[in-house]
């Protein structure tokens, strides 16, 4: 599945972006199947805007985004739901867990939203790997940000996907936990032959990126 961007530019940031060059904004660019893409950008240059645009959480932009030649703006509710269930998974910067559900229920929800990709025992394996087994029965709202972030990562990996969108996915994790999480993500992407788009503030070597872009 190819993601194509055709001269997209967020309307609220239009003037600001037109003045400076970018590898992504206002260009024609394709993200090809299986590519591991790192997008680096300083604060306030639209990392989250880009991720939300690709995921169709916002549509206030000019230009055209398409998944496999299907224009995102023309994608209907049901198609979009199917895309999010089968092809696109996401780790939000603001995590977005259901505060009233337990950590396990948060993960489980994304597992059973479609035909499950994994057995639910896989939740325990991943949680053990990332060191969050002990908080699975806790309400997500009571977990620390670091714990919530790992839960959000496990949640994203619980579903089938061809593209994984990650918006500063390790912002609340120490270097050790980051490495563990990164290797789990790499393993899962390799298994699916999936690509990812990861945005972050700085250079890093958590993955063997196939492409570096500056926003």
């Amino acid at each position: 599945m190819t993601i194509s961007l055709h001269k997209i530019i967020p309307i609220p940031l239009k003037d600001k972006f037109l003045q400076r060059g970018s590898d992504v904004w206002n260009t024609v660019i394709d993200f090809n199947k299986g590519e591991w893409i790192k997008i680096k950008a300083p604060s306030g240059t639209g990392k989250t805007t880009l991720v939300h645009t690709l995921y169709k959480l916002r549509t206030d932009y000019e230009g055209k985004v398409s998944w496999n030649n299907k224009t995102l703006k023309e994608t209907g509710d049901d198609e979009l739901a199917a895309l999010r269930q089968q092809s696109a998974s996401i780790v939000f910067q603001d995590l977005r867990l259901f505060a009233n559900l337990t950590a396990r229920e948060n993960i489980e929800l994304n597992r059973v939203l479609q035909q499950p990709y994994y057995e639910s025992s896989r939740i325990d394996e991943m949680a053990a790997q990332l060191g969050v087994s002990h908080i699975l029965t806790q309400r997500a709202g009571l977990c620390s940000y670091g714990e919530q972030q790992r839960i959000a990562i496990i949640r994203a990996l619980m579903q089938p996907f061809e593209w994984l969108l990650m918006d500063e996915p390790f912002s609340h994790l120490d270097i050790n936990n980051t490495n563990i999480a990164a290797s789990l993500i790499a393993e899962e992407c390799t298994k699916r032959g999936a690509g990812f788009i990861l945005t972050d503030l700085d250079e890093d070597h958590h993955f063997e990126y196939t492409r570096y872009l500056n926003l």
């Binding site: 049901d78 559900l101 994304n110 059973v112």
Partner: protein
């Protein structure tokens, strides 16, 4: 599993009391509306039912009211009769043919001696409430069958006999009494043998078979005064029909007032049923509103959860299906419970009315069930519409 999680996300935020309130409102409204349908159905049943139809109230003997201005001129013209037949409330009309000869009756045996001058009338058999194998007359007949009003016998037994110190007579006795009928002709009396074969509650006259009447009128009748009927019997679905009462009044006709008095009650019943209809409909409207608001509130109170669910890839259709499953079954249960309640009430009503010899169906009517299904369909549509509207709004 998904449904369990959704339930936890969406149910937790709405109050149980509001739900109960919405349910109770809907139940009461439904009960009123369906009860109104059932009452209406029962009412129609009573008017059209075969068992009830044959009762006294549905046959009316109509004649011109005798007033000081029309004494001696109370015959009904053919036009009058035809017009009456044309009226929507008239199912059938039959003319009461009067006899045009003088007739008297006397006891045929010496045991019960009596003598009375008499008259005959006849009416087509379909208007009679007496079934008797003896009710026929032909050239070979050895006696003239007669039907007399029950009232006659009552008057004799309880008024005349007691005051005159005479024996009271049972129906059986009267029917076994040989009666000598004398028809007066210009050449003297012609004697026949007559027999009472039945008692009528419907027509207050001494009735003989139509065939005898035609024959006798022809043979002994005063040709100058060719049969001009002055009384008509009609069969009507509803003697209490206000239209009928109004027609009679405007044409100077009259009938047994006791039977048409029902028309006043009828109007009251119709009024009550209508009020019940309107109240039910208005309540239904409010109940729907409450239920809609409840759905709206439920969705609004967890709009963040819904937004996040959609973000994570829940299809709005999935959510809609889930919410329908949350709300609609309660509606189905309400409708079923209300139908059961009405069935029980109907059964009780039947038991009570049976003791009064008013026969209604013990089962609830098809119309009530159809109405319930229609209301259920409306509820489904309203639920579906509301859920759809607000889910798409929250997105």
């Amino acid at each position: 599993m998904l449904n369990q999680l959704l339930k936890k996300l969406i149910r937790s935020s709405t109050g149980r009391s509001r739900f109960i309130l919405a349910i109770v409102g809907l139940s009461v409204a439904l009960l009123l509306i369906l009860a109104a349908v059932q009452i209406q159905a029962n009412y129609n049943d009573l008017l059209n039912n075969k068992t009830n139809q044959d009762s006294v109230a549905n046959f009316l003997v109509i004649n011109k009211a005798v007033t000081s201005s029309n004494v001696g001129a109370t015959t009904l013209s053919q036009a009058d009769i035809d017009d009456l037949k044309k009226q929507p409330f008239t199912d059938a009309a039959g003319v009461l043919t009067p006899s045009h000869f003088k007739v008297s009756a006397q006891g045929a045996s010496d045991r019960i001696p009596f003598y009375t001058d008499l008259f005959f009338e006849s009416v087509p058999d379909e208007f009679l409430d007496v079934n008797n194998k003896d009710w026929k007359w032909g050239d070979q007949s050895t006696f003239i069958p007669m039907i007399i009003p029950n009232m006659f016998l009552d008057m004799y037994n309880f008024g005349f006999a007691t005051s005159q110190n005479l024996p009271q007579l049972s129906q059986e006795l009267v029917m076994n009494l040989p009666i000598q009928i004398n028809i007066k002709t210009a050449l003297g009396n012609v004697n026949y043998y007559g027999k009472v074969v039945g008692f009528s509650d419907r027509i207050s006259s001494v009735l003989v078979p139509q065939s005898f009447m035609d024959w006798a009128n022809n043979k002994y009748g005063d040709q100058a005064d060719k049969a001009k009927p002055s009384r008509v019997v009609i069969r009507t679905k509803d003697a209490g029909n206000p239209q009928l009462t109004e027609y009679l009044r405007s044409h100077g006709l009259t009938t047994d007032a006791d039977k048409t008095r029902f028309s006043k009650y009828r109007q009251i019943v119709t009024g009550v049923v209508n009020v019940s209809w309107v109240t039910g409909a208005v309540m239904m409207l409010f109940a729907l509103l409450i239920f809609t608001l409840f759905i709206q509130l439920t969705i609004a109170s967890c709009k963040e959860e819904i937004a996040l669910l959609v973000t994570l890839g829940t299809a709005p259709k999935q959510l809609q299906r889930f919410l329908m499953k949350q709300f609609f079954p309660s509606n189905v249960v309400i409708v079923l419970v209300v139908l059961i309640v009405i069935s029980v009430l109907q059964l009780l009503l039947k038991k009570i009315l049976d003791t009064q010899h008013i026969y209604v169906n013990g089962m609830i009517s098809v119309y009530t069930i159809i109405a319930a299904i229609i209301i259920l369909a409306v509820l489904w549509l309203v639920n579906n519409y509301t859920i759809r509207k607000y889910i798409y709004q929250q997105r």
